[in-house]
């Protein structure tokens, strides 16, 4: 059994190394300051991806602004205040199911509700709201889990000192759970940054001559641009396509790594 399980691990690690290795080897040669900081040219076959990077950053930032307060507050409610009854169990079940809904379904929901019904049009805002729906279950669940891991001893101690419920959560439980909450948030936002289907129908543009100037502008974005380069434009030089993929993967992993490093510093202080 040890051999079989070990082989599975080796296979998974091998696949990951192969994918990452391929992206680095094929993508890195295409990376230059010019590639990062200039507009695409020649029907996107040359030039850089600056507007695409900016579009992605704006989209993820707007999504974070919308989803983090909502998701973290909901997680706090579920972990700390929700009564233990059937309704709470149903809510929790619905959230778990929301996490399993295919992303194109979120896209169509966003198109129907944010783009058409609420008349935001195809825009950064409509896409960010769609990604908020998609990311919400991850943020809520990870916040709730992180809070549950904080021993109830600490809540009791704070309450016994005359702290109100909120003060005990705010001053003791939340700081202790922060590493877990941050990890969950980064994970959720990384997923949002890499999604193509939901933004395809709610605001991402094939090509735009200028940068988005408000939340109601359309925008260009890395995952969708990658899809365009790979399937919609003939004769794109491979270093442009792979370079774009490299930027997306490097961006997401850099953020994860920073979060991971911060978390391990925090964990060293907090152990039970």
């Amino acid at each position: 059994m040890k051999v079989v399980t070990g082989a599975c691990v080796a296979l998974v690690i091998g696949a990951a190394i192969f994918i990452l290795g391929k992206i680095v080897i094929s993508g890195l040669p295409g990376i230059s300051l010019e590639f990062l900081f200039s507009k695409p040219g020649m029907g996107m076959r040359a030039g850089g991806i600056f507007p695409i990077i900016v579009g992605t950053l704006m989209l993820v930032t707007l999504t974070a602004v919308l989803v983090l307060p909502l998701g973290i507050m909901a997680g706090i409610y579920l972990a700390e205040y929700a009564p233990k009854n059937l309704v709470t169990r149903l809510v929790r079940l619905s959230i778990a199911n929301m996490a399993g809904v295919p992303s194109i379904v979120y896209g169509l929901f966003g198109l129907a509700v944010f783009v058409l019904l609420m008349q935001f049009g195809k825009s950064l805002l409509a896409s960010a709201l769609t990604l908020t729906c998609l990311t919400l279950p991850v943020i809520i669940t990870s916040t709730e889990e992180a809070l549950r891991q904080v021993p109830s001893d600490l809540r009791q101690a704070a309450l016994a000192l005359g702290a109100t419920r909120w003060r005990s959560i705010h001053k003791v439980v939340l700081p202790a759970a922060a590493p877990g909450i941050v990890t969950g948030s980064i994970l959720g936002l990384s997923r949002a940054a890499g999604e193509t289907a939901p933004i395809l129908v709610t605001g991402a543009a094939f090509f735009l001559p200028k940068l988005p100037d408000s939340v109601s502008s359309q925008y260009m974005s890395l995952p969708y641009h990658l899809y365009v380069l790979a399937t919609q434009v003939p004769n794109v030089p491979p270093e442009v396509t792979w370079g774009t993929a490299f930027v997306l993967v490097a961006g997401v992993s850099t953020v994860s790594m920073i979060a991971g490093a911060w978390r391990s510093v925090q964990r060293r202080k907090v152990k039970w």
């Binding site: 001893d153 009791q156 309450l159 000192l161 005359g162 700081p175 152990k271």
Partner: protein, 288 residues
């Protein structure tokens, strides 16, 4: 000890609730505060009554030990005194509990205010994941004290009272988890003392500690009883005998009936010449 004499008289004829209350007024009328009077106290979890008919006087500035076998409701009774039972759903507390004559279950009384007057130390040391200073300053900050100088003074005083100041005065910025188990528990005592409570509830505070740390905690308790009323739950008979002024023996004789207070009196008498056969059997180690 005038108090324990009055007290024994009561313990012997197990008075009706009204009489406990009137007696409490006479005893609690001392200048010092922090005396509890319990009359006909019962606790129910959902439909199950787990504790019933407890009449008890806790005189101020003394150590009262609650002893009895596991599941006899000692901790449950302790948590009634600072209303920590309120935090568990579906718990009902019956009867009357007064602190210095004031009903602590009165609707107008905020449990948050009560808990500043009645502190608690738990079984397992549970310092907050923050510095020593911030741990001790947590209660005063909750009370709205913000001035650095004032907080510094409170922290020093509380740590001194908990016999920890000498060891940690140069390391107040250290994380609380860097302390040993015994130091952590004394830190928790300091944290509870920092709100200047009248009563300190201790739920088996030394059961998770080594003998030396236990000894230090017991010494601390002996020092503290001039300042606060202490009610301590303990499984350790020797400990109860060593540190307490009066002892209450509780028992739940079967799962079909609630636990009750068998006997309460001056510790020396309880351990040498108890009134009740069951007290004697428990103390001499025949069951429990």
């Amino acid at each position: 000890m005038v108090m324990s004499a009055a007290f024994e008289e009561i313990a012997m004829d197990t008075p009706a609730g009204a009489e406990v209350q009137s007696r409490a007024r006479t005893i609690g009328a001392d200048a010092v505060s922090g005396s509890f009077a319990l009359s006909d106290v019962s606790v129910a979890y959902g439909n199950e009554t787990v504790l019933a008919g407890v009449n008890m006087l806790v005189p101020s500035r003394s150590v009262t030990a609650l002893i009895g076998p596991s599941g006899c409701g000692k901790s449950t009774l302790l948590r009634c005194l600072n209303r920590m039972n309120d935090e568990i759903g579906r718990v009902r507390v019956g009867g009357t509990i007064t602190l210095d004559g004031q009903d602590i279950y009165e609707k107008t009384l905020d449990p948050v205010d009560l808990r500043m007057r009645v502190g608690q130390v738990f079984q397992r040391p549970n310092p907050f994941p923050m510095s020593l200073y911030d741990n001790v300053a947590f209660g005063p900050r909750t009370q709205g004290i913000r001035k650095r100088g004032e907080l510094d003074a409170i922290v020093e005083e509380a740590l001194t009272d908990a016999a920890l100041w000498g060891e940690v005065k140069k390391h107040l910025k250290k994380h609380a988890f860097e302390l040993s188990g015994g130091q952590q528990q004394r830190l928790c005592i300091a944290r509870a003392l920092a709100t200047k409570p009248e009563v300190l509830l201790m739920d088996e505070p030394a059961s998770a500690l080594d003998p030396i740390s236990t000894q230090q905690i017991e010494d601390t308790i002996a020092e503290l009883k001039d300042m606060v009323t202490i009610v301590i739950v303990t499984h350790n008979m020797q400990q109860a005998a060593r540190i307490s002024d009066q002892t209450a023996f509780m028992l739940r004789e079967s799962m079909d009936e609630p636990a009750h207070l068998v006997e309460m009196g001056e510790t020396k008498r309880m351990f040498t010449n108890p009134d009740d056969k069951r007290t004697e059997s428990y103390i001499t180690g025949r069951f429990g």
